[in-house]
Symmetry: C2
């Protein structure tokens, strides 16, 4: 018996002194996932869930019930005479009876009793009908009811499993989870695309005001912003713990209304000390993505299939993720794009970033395989990236490009040369505000490197979800912050 099943038995109070005590006719409340895994035929049990569909036959009613513990629905059979009055599609019910295998070989609950726990006033505006699937932009209008649909239930379970798998993978490899701050006084990375935070109460600001400080900085004695990355904070902690990561909400105040952008999204950022080459970093990234994806596909087979039902592609994405990822330099990438310039609406130019169509083209050109692009121009990357040894116009940075979404991860070695970093920060006028960051290099410095991966884009990749807004329970994007 799997340990999780045992545990659910233990918690249902029928296990005492090492012995199972299942009272005759006692209705043990059981999750539907456990009904299907355990199949305790003949035993009396009760389930609680929502009516997903109903069929009335001559003497009996067949009710499909789901409780969200898995995508499967349990068929409940009840004699017509015992039908409760408010039993409709959408209602929450409790059904008690015995578990049988019916003549079609299906598991069925032959119910003695069905109680409606909460009716569903279907005719007064309930937006879903039984056995119907809806386009994702329709579902997005009902964020509060969307988790009841089959497809979004599957998404939420896979999202949960994916975050577990990421945590497990990183822990197994010695990383320690750090809650980097959401509020920060540092906006030097965001370059204007940050959210400002202050108390809503004007009175509180007045009460806390100090001479010489603008009123709207009174709460923290400084401006406060929502984090765009936990990397700089991780760089502080990694110089004590060697391997650390953060996995939390991240914010961009961009006016990007694309299928790949959110104002609030989740990011995994990992940082390791004593890393001296991009090679090592690239291996860490590839290994994490492959291991985590394998875990998800193994643990969530049914839910992944439901999410791929529209594109039928889950096989192909796994075969993509099993290939060795490719590595090319930025210069090689530009060469390829220049050779195939006829394919683009705007041309790739050396010294500039890549557009989405360039990113996706490079992936296609590699045979639909993920591609690491390394050694980027110094001028278009942030100050903390390490200058390449062989070419001072380049930095040791890496972007991972993947099918469907383009850029999935970005990473780099960090500049660990104190005087070079000092010069850079002085030029940017950041040497005072980032004095603490310089001190990380002054005291017991190490070479370090790390990367960030957008969690929702990763879900888009492995689940074939076109719009990022359908990968997160409550999406926030320009002009939208519902609920």
């Amino acid at each position: 018996m799997a340990s999780w099943v045992l545990r659910s038995f233990l918690t249902s109070n029928n296990f005492r002194n090492g012995v199972f005590h299942i009272k005759r006719r006692a209705h043990i409340n059981t999750r539907i996932i456990d009904v299907f895994k355990l199949q305790p035929f003949g035993s009396h049990l009760s389930i609680k869930g929502w009516v997903k569909a109903m069929r009335k036959m001559k003497d009996n009613i067949f009710i499909d019930v789901n409780d969200g513990s898995c995508s499967d629905k349990l068929q409940v059979l009840i004699p017509k005479s015992k039908r409760p009055e408010s039993l409709t599609y959408g209602a929450a019910i409790e059904a008690a009876g015995s578990l049988v295998m019916n003549k079609n070989g299906q598991i069925e609950l032959a119910a003695e009793d069905v109680t409606v726990v909460g009716p569903c006033i279907v005719l007064d505006g309930y937006p879903f009908a039984p056995r119907k699937s809806y386009p994702s932009d329709y579902l997005r209008q009902y964020l509060h009811l969307r988790p009841r649909t089959n497809i979004f239930g599957a998404l939420l379970r896979v999202r949960d499993r994916a975050s577990c798998a990421i945590n497990e993978h990183l822990h197994n490899n010695g990383y320690i989870h750090i809650h980097t701050p959401i509020l920060t006084s540092n906006d030097c990375e965001g370059a204007g695309e940050v959210f400002r935070v202050k108390p809503d109460s004007e009175n509180m600001l007045k009460e806390m005001a100090k001479e010489g400080l603008p009123l709207d900085e009174a709460y923290f004695d400084s401006k406060a912003f929502l984090t765009v990355s936990g990397q700089l904070h991780l760089e502080a902690v990694v110089r004590g713990l060697s391997k650390v990561y953060t996995f939390g909400p991240t914010f961009r105040a961009e006016n990007s209304r694309t299928r790949l952008h959110l104002a609030e999204f989740y990011m995994i950022e990992a940082e390791a000390a004593f890393i001296e080459s991009l090679d090592e970093l690239v291996k860490i990234m590839e290994c994490m993505i492959k291991d985590v994806s394998k875990q998800i596909m193994e643990d969530c087979t049914d839910d992944v299939q439901i999410l791929h039902s529209s594109d039928g592609n889950e096989g192909s994405i796994m075969s993509v993720l099993e290939k060795p990822f490719q590595v090319m330099t930025y210069d090689q990438a530009i060469n390829i794009l220049e050779k195939h310039s006829g394919n683009f609406t705007s041309q790739a130019r050396t010294g500039q970033g890549l557009s989405k169509e360039h990113e996706l083209y490079l992936v296609k050109h590699a045979g639909d395989c993920p591609v690491f692009v390394i050694d980027w121009p110094h001028d278009i990357k942030p100050f903390y990236m390490k200058q390449c040894v062989h070419d001072s116009s380049k930095v040791s940075a890496v972007d991972l490009l993947v099918p469907r979404v383009g850029e999935l991860c970005g990473g780099s070695l960090r500049e660990d040369n104190l005087s070079q970093l000092q010069d850079k920060l002085t030029k940017l006028g950041l040497h005072e505000v980032l004095e603490w960051y310089l001190e990380l290099r002054k005291y017991g410095n190490v070479p370090s490197g790390g990367f960030g991966m957008g969690f929702e884009r990763y879900l888009q990749l492995i689940l074939g979800i076109p719009n990022i807004k359908d990968t997160i329970p409550f999406p926030r994007w320009p002009h939208n912050c519902k609920l």
Copy 2:
């Protein structure tokens, strides 16, 4: 061999075709935690970490090295002749040699080679000296260097293990992790103690402006706030998935400068459908706290001991947490407080909340045992709490009070009576903005209940940490948002 050890071997590239290949004189890079667990005497290995202390003897130098993977320091022995120039306290080093047991029975790395990866300019302001411990408010001045200290390294490892243990416990009990939103348009719970969020760029707001909307609402078409609780969102999801939880950052714009308050803190909030009594809820809370605490004490024995080194109390807290928690009604609590009124600077009055001194007194009165206080006056609790069946002036709410911190958790059954909830929200003027919340009751409603637990207060409880600012890597509180 424990599976994590095996894994660390597998990832160090010495395991091929099911066989360990340890080359003679090859220096396998090994984490210090693995050195102590594996004790591969005689093998050649290298370690990387920071110098925590040095002792010079006649011919040799003894270096204590720590890499943050555990609290233990590995003693590295090197002949004086091989001492690298910049080897000082605080430096990052790599040491390679063979593992031996010395004549005192200690594990020791007899180094052939020590390289300074990064020196530490100790004399130019490094705030820590070897073998010295510092008061926590001194360490708090150096948030970027604090993770290097023995005590804060221990805290970060325990914090990591505690969040894993909470995730594991909830998953084992069928709960699904939901990322409830950080940004929300809903401020009805916060009552003025919320943070407002808007893009920092005035130009972006102008670009996105719409007629009839205030300029500072242009980004989301509404005001946006930082979440004070994910509960209402969980109540939406629980009506599809039955058991859900969230574990993320939460915000309060209060001007509270106590040892128990932060502006940004972490909260675990769990919600379960089909819960019909406070009894069930109380059991879920007690079971989680006991299970998680046991896990932490088992897995982090050394680190917990380091954190308790100042109060020597870790034994007593576990004995507290092993007792059955007590349950009393609010009325009983008030009775006790009135009988012992001589103990308080301000008196407890029926119909009002409890102050910190009242909370701590009730715990003491119960024999230093955690106490659930149930059935609170309707008038001092939020709108979503369910009216008690036996007394309409009360709601089915519960606070868990514990030693040292007072209130640790708050929970309730949720009002599931549609018309009562409608009346309440209409009186509060919230029926329009919370129309969606009412719809949760209109369609397939269920009785539900849940609770929230402050993660940092929990760490204070089990680790005996007086100030909450010392339980989180980068604390934010009034007048402080450093880094």
